[in-house]
């Protein structure tokens, strides 16, 4: 494969992996704290709509981002109330949130913009523009390094860089700070946290809200960076792929990055059947490529490639008094 084609595919991989990564990290915070979240998809979708709508209305991508995070946070709060305060079934709450977002975004979009459930196209400052990193132009003629820097590393929107930075940040937070220790503990054995004098409820709410913020970023990225506006169902199953990546990564940040890049790469390859055919020598079925992340996840879950052990207290409400 020539370098340029490879770079372009990797470039596209990064773009497509970013929303997965943000949602995956979002899920990581929540599930590490013991709150399962299959509502990543819904939160992302809600954030995509509100960021698109507000960015269009105000002309500012940043305000859009805030609105997207806000919308995602509202759904997170619903999930928190259902699964933490009222000790409801976390899976069912997640399902409900996905439907809520799928329905509400269209209903509101239709009544707001009357464009069949989409927002108008975003232009100018209403979108996140790619950032050219320093010296990208200067080094672009240097073989390999320069090209890689210019084509692959430089030229993404700020959210992409935020997402990538979040990986080491999450790692440090999780394994090197007080907060991370408590977060991991509450997902393994909430009673240990409780008897250590820390509020389980507060800790779990914080985790769920962080999850909301990150899903908000993911959604805003879809509508205001990757695309120029919201269209109905634009999350298109990314929340579930993120969930798959989270399992694939065994709930760890660096592995999450690799899983998301892998799934992003698969998506990017699915867009380049020509390249695949050229290098593999046969036509790869498009549906197979679409389904590959899901199949891989099932294989991982089945324990054929390492065992994915979820946080022990995950999915169970913390009940002291029966």
């Amino acid at each position: 494969m020539d370098l340029l084609t490879l770079l372009l595919i990797l470039d596209s991989t990064i773009r497509l992996a970013t929303p997965l990564l943000l949602a995956c990290l979002a899920g990581l915070y929540s599930e590490r704290a013991g709150i399962f979240d299959i509502g990543l998809e819904g939160k992302m979708l809600a954030a995509a709509f509100f960021s698109g709508a507000v960015a269009y209305t105000t002309g500012s991508a940043w305000l859009g981002l805030l609105a997207g995070i806000g919308a995602s946070l509202v759904l997170s709060a619903v999930h928190g109330i259902a699964s933490i305060t009222f000790r409801g079934n976390q899976l069912i709450s997640g399902v409900a949130i996905n439907f809520l977002a799928a329905g509400l975004t269209v209903v509101i979009a239709q009544s707001w913009f009357k464009q069949g459930g989409r927002t108008p196209q975003l232009v100018g400052d209403a979108r996140f523009e790619p950032i050219t990193l320093p010296f990208a132009d200067a080094v672009k003629d240097i073989p390999v390094f320069g090209v890689v820097y210019n084509e692959l590393i430089s030229g993404h929107t700020s959210i992409v860089y935020i997402a990538l930075l979040l990986v080491p940040l999450t790692w440090i937070l999780l394994y090197r700070t007080r907060f991370g220790l408590r977060l991991r503990a509450v997902g393994e054995n909430p009673a240990s946290v409780d008897t250590a004098g820390i509020s389980v409820v507060r800790l779990r709410y914080i985790a769920v809200l962080i999850c909301g913020v990150l899903c908000g970023l993911a959604g805003a990225y879809l509508a205001t960076a990757l695309q120029a506006g919201f269209v109905k169902d634009m999350s298109a199953g990314r929340g579930f792929i993120a969930l798959a990546a989270l399992i694939f990564a065994k709930w760890r940040p660096w592995q999450a990055l690799f899983a998301c890049l892998l799934f992003g790469f698969l998506q990017a390859m699915a867009l380049r059947p020509d390249v695949l055919e050229q290098y593999l020598g046969f036509k790869v079925n498009a549906q197979l490529l679409d389904a590959l992340p899901y199949i891989l996840t099932v294989v991982i879950l089945a324990g054929f490639v390492g065992k994915a052990i979820p946080p022990k207290a995950g999915g169970e409400p913390y009940v002291k008094e029966r």
């Binding site: 299959i38 329905g103 209903v107 579930f240 389904a291 996840t297």
Partner: protein, 367 residues
């Protein structure tokens, strides 16, 4: 916590949850500048005001009975089957294979054949996640979600390839032969001078679904298998002690669940579309979750809840047709029903428990 009386648990809690969902939905309608009262009138008129409306309401309800039963039976074994969508998709494939490739002499035989095809493929699609749960401990919720996507990709592959008649634009099979056409309510109930259920898709499958409710009820509460399923659902450690094999129960329950979800296809694929198109399940697998939660996993409750959701679907379609309220409103209502009856039921139950303990201060038998 004090337990609620049975009737309150079965009727009051779901009813209040439903009411909450309805109130919130009304607020949504208000917020988009429409009148909830007239919207409701329109829905009632459109869904229940004519045999035509009923024909659609019951058609949707038939789908939801099947998927609701599917989710419910899995709930009894404490398994959460989110894979109804994929299983019903595969059920559709089963129906299509049976109807396209086998020349049937009469619809009744075709129906039986299609039921077998739908049930077998639906069960097979549930069997893999079930096996992985039973033997490898993979979380069934995640695997069934993944299998929904895989089913969609598989069907997509087949419908643009093997199963698509040449020259067709759509990813769909050919129309099924005339001899496989199921009698619709119109065929069954119309007289020469009084056409009832004109053009509505409700068909004989509705009675199959009703029968399925009765059979599932018998299965759960009047058979040894049902006893074992419930035992396992309440306590897997106790089930093991009693000589009930978890693997067997997980496999059988999920396969029954998948078969029920798959059976939905005789309604929508064989009874209505009379060919298999992509995305024919249309979320019914997920609505089954709402229906099972509403119906408290009891076949009778599911029957009622399915009709309620049938009403919502048909009424919602009417809204979309005659007002500017988009059809997605029913998705919102569905979400709220799932939220309140499934995830926030303690929010409803806790105050009720307080209320009831005010009236009845005698504790449980102190012997």
């Amino acid at each position: 916590m004090n337990e609620l009386p049975r009737w309150a648990e079965i009727i009051l809690v779901p009813l209040i949850s439903l009411l909450l969902a309805a109130v919130l939905s009304a607020l949504v309608i208000l917020a988009i500048g429409e009148n909830p009262i007239s919207a409701l009138q329109l829905m009632v008129q459109g869904a229940l005001g004519s045999t035509y409306g009923w024909g659609y309401t019951l058609y949707y309800a038939t789908n939801f009975i099947f998927t609701g039963l599917a989710v419910a039976i899995a709930f009894h074994a404490r398994l959460f089957n989110i894979g109804g969508e994929g299983q019903a998709t595969l059920g559709g494939l089963g129906v299509a294979l049976v109807c396209v490739y086998i020349p049937w002499p009469h619809w009744s035989l075709a129906l039986i054949g299609a039921m077998v095809g739908a049930a077998v493929l639906g069960a097979a699609w549930a069997a893999i996640p079930a096996f992985l749960q039973a033997r490898r401990g993979s979380h069934i919720v995640i695997t069934t979600i993944m299998f929904n996507f895989i089913a969609a990709a598989l069907l997509n592959y087949l419908l643009i390839g093997l199963l698509k008649p040449k020259g067709s634009m759509e990813p769909a099979t050919a129309k099924f032969a005339e001899s496989t056409h199921l009698p619709s309510f119109q065929d069954m109930f119309s007289t020469a001078d009084n056409v009832l259920f004109r053009g509505a898709p409700a068909n004989v499958t509705f009675f199959v679904a009703t029968l399925a409710c009765i059979l599932v009820w018998l299965l759960i509460w009047h058979t040894r298998l049902g006893y074992e399923i419930r035992s396992f659902g309440h306590s897997d450690s106790a089930a093991k002690y009693a000589g009930i094999s978890p693997t067997k129960i997980i496999m059988i329950t999920m396969m029954i669940s998948g078969a029920l979800a798959g059976l939905m296809a005789i309604n929508n694929v064989m009874g209505e579309a009379e060919r298999l198109i992509l995305g024919s399940v249309e979320g019914a697998g997920f609505i089954g979750i709402a229906v099972a939660l509403m119906g408290r996993s009891h076949p009778f409750g599911i029957f009622i809840a399915a009709i309620l959701f049938g009403f919502l679907y048909q009424g919602g379609a009417e809204l979309a047709l005659w007002t500017s309220i988009p059809r997605e409103l029913i998705v919102v209502i569905q979400a709220l029903v799932i939220l309140f009856t499934g995830a926030l039921d303690n929010m409803v139950r806790m105050p009720l428990q307080k209320l009831f303990s005010l009236f009845k201060r005698t504790p449980v038998s102190e012997v």
